[in-house]
């Protein structure tokens, strides 16, 4: 019974994704959707870490960058196959996350935030300073498009198909993870680390696992980004971008795979729509972060859904949780 329903839902979504694309009269919107897709990958990963495991990373742009630069450097300088380069990027990001994660995840809250932030700053500086490899601040040009069996992903349409295929797969995978034993343990440790431990959940290991996992997503997104842009520069991977990712998670709602899609979508489209208020963009970002977290600590969408749900049960005499 459960499987067909599940399949149904995803088929519906996949159909919607392609229908939306067909409705786009203008290729610009496809490009926009492509970036939304890439951002969604990042946000889903970060959301697994923040929303589910309750751990924060203020340096996720670093893993995004590691993926992008590994792909870029290996294909441009060494002429490696882009798919292999993508894999190499994920390995490097995963190992980096593992090494940072072992000590950092023993630390709680602020320390982890600071450790990831420090890591982000260092990686950004390396991108800027290691000019022999990365091309420095002027960027790395000429990154080839991905290709598969003679098909080159070099137009917004083809990229759209590729990127959203990946996004759909990752969304399915992540939604299943969340619903599985590991997902439950993650959500559990977010609500009460003590209780989770008392039931045999090795919270330390689990946090590390999900930290590495989310770094893999970020790296994958980075590689796709590099092959989409054909050009990368350090400025895409700075702290501000890490903070924007956190904003996307917060807007989309913590602990909500679908919310990640929404968060990435809204915050990628919003600056485009509000383009004539660009001086206010940072203020708006900051304001969103504060207001949402103050009043709906589980993020916008998840918070509103919770409100609805809890209102339903309130009559039965439950306390209102935050």
């Amino acid at each position: 019974m459960r499987l067909p329903r599940l399949l149904n839902r995803w088929l519906l979504f996949t159909a919607a994704v392609f229908l939306i694309a067909l409705l786009m009269e203008n290729e610009y919107y496809l490009t926009l959707l492509n970036f939304i897709g890439i951002h969604t990958l990042l946000v889903v990963g970060l959301n697994l870490l923040m929303g589910y495991a309750g751990q924060i990373s203020l340096g996720h742009a670093a893993f995004f960058g590691l993926g992008a630069y590994t792909s870029g450097i290996l294909t441009v300088t060494y002429g490696l196959n882009p798919w292999l380069a993508m894999l190499a990027g994920m390995i490097i990001s995963g190992v980096a996350a593992f090494l940072i994660g072992i000590p950092a995840l023993k630390l709680r809250g602020y320390y982890l935030a600071m450790a990831t932030l420090g890591f982000g700053v260092i990686v950004y500086i390396v991108f800027t300073e290691a000019q022999a490899w990365t091309g420095g601040p002027s960027g790395l040009a000429g990154i080839p498009a991905l290709h598969l069996a003679g098909l080159s992903f070099d137009t917004p349409w083809k990229l759209y198909l590729l990127i959203w295929m990946v996004v759909i797969l990752i969304l399915i995978l992540s939604a299943s993870i969340v619903d599985s034993r590991i997902g439950r343990a993650l959500r559990a440790l977010h609500d009460s680390e003590a209780a989770a431990e008392s039931l045999g959940v090795n919270t330390q290991r689990l946090k590390l696992l999900i930290f590495v996992w989310s770094a893999l997503y970020a790296s994958l997104a980075g590689s796709l980004f590099a092959h989409t842009m054909n050009f990368i520069a350090p400025s895409s991977f700075d702290i501000m971008f890490s903070i924007k990712l956190v904003t996307m998670v917060v807007v989309g709602g913590m602990a909500s795979v679908w919310g990640s899609l929404l968060g990435a979508g809204v915050l990628t489209i919003l600056p485009e729509v509000l383009v004539f208020f660009h001086d206010f963009e940072v203020v708006i970002f900051g304001g969103i972060l504060m207001v949402v977290m103050i009043f709906l600590p589980r993020g916008l969408v998840r918070g509103l859904l919770d409100l609805k749900e809890f209102r339903r049960y309130k009559r039965q005499g439950g306390a209102f949780p935050v």
Partner: protein, 289 residues
């Protein structure tokens, strides 16, 4: 001998920067002690201090007035920030608080950009601008001001916390909020006080270095991060630790850019932080976590 001459210069420059990091670190520490919150907007207080003082100076060119006015304005901003952004928080988990204060920092920076524009501003040095020879090295009178006033502020803070009733109450709050409430200390008041005090310290730091570094709307972020690194390095919440952490970080940075590579200066600062976090997360002078 050849090697020694630049070393002294690196030391001077490192200590000056370090003194500012120390002041910011103390700001972090004060709030952390009273509330266990890390206020990521602390760096923006430094920026606001510098820019407010510069604006006041433009209206009325008196440095003491600019200093006092700048500190006073930012203190008020710190209090308002606590009232509007942190008092109403419904879920005071670290992750929420991090996001809120980071959001606050971005927000304050954005507002400052709208108010002051994107251009940097200068503030004249407190006294003469003639460098003083110090053996093979030179030092500006403003460097001395930074070090001197910084040291005074630290002493003042230490005395305040140890000797005055309010200060003792604050420490009591930090040690055991529930017990403090039982003996009639208003913890809410203490939290407010801690935000005001740390904003004031940050602002003072900002005004002190403005003549050396100029004031610009985005100067706060990096200073805030370095200040926090210093606080962690020294041990969160320890006054002496914060000072030590700040000075160490400043000197390390300066030596790194002088002796290793100037491009990796910030990377070195954060590398030290990471190593410190991993080896000794409670900091040099911090107690148990």
């Amino acid at each position: 001998m050849e090697i020694l001459a630049p070393l002294l210069q690196y030391l001077i420059s490192g200590l000056t920067n370090g003194a500012i990091y120390a002041l910011i670190a103390l700001g972090f520490g004060i709030i952390y002690n009273a509330t266990t919150i890390i206020n990521f907007a602390q760096g923006e207080m430094v920026m606001l201090g510098a820019l407010c003082a510069i604006s006041i100076y433009h209206v009325n060119p008196s440095l003491p007035l600019a200093f006092a006015g700048g500190v006073a304005m930012v203190t008020v901003i710190g209090l308002v920030f606590e009232r509007l952004a942190l008092r109403p928080v419904r879920d005071p988990s670290p992750i929420s608080l991090i996001i809120i204060t980071v959001g606050g920092a971005v927000f304050i920076k954005g507002i400052a950009m709208l108010l002051w524009g994107k251009d940097p501003y200068s503030l004249p040095p407190f006294t003469s601008n003639v460098p003083i020879g110090l053996g093979p090295a030179t030092i500006l009178p403003q460097n001395l001001w930074v070090l001197g006033v910084g040291a005074l502020l630290v002493l003042f803070l230490e005395a305040f916390l140890r000797l005055t009733l309010v200060g003792k109450a604050m420490r009591a709050c930090a040690y055991n909020p529930r017990a403090a409430r039982l003996v009639g200390i208003s913890t809410g008041r203490m939290v407010q006080l801690s935000f005001g005090l740390s904003a004031a310290l940050g602002a003072a730091g900002g005004i002190l270095i403005a003549p050396l570094t100029l004031g610009v709307y985005d100067m706060g972020t990096m200073l805030g991060l370095k200040g926090f690194s210093a606080a962690i390095l020294g041990g969160l919440g320890s006054i002496l630790g914060g000072v030590l952490g700040g000075l160490l970080l400043g000197v390390a940075e300066s030596l790194a850019s002088g002796l290793i590579s100037s491009g990796y200066r910030d990377a070195v600062a954060f590398l030290i932080l990471l190593v410190a976090l991993f080896i000794r997360p409670q900091g040099l002078l911090g107690g148990k976590q």
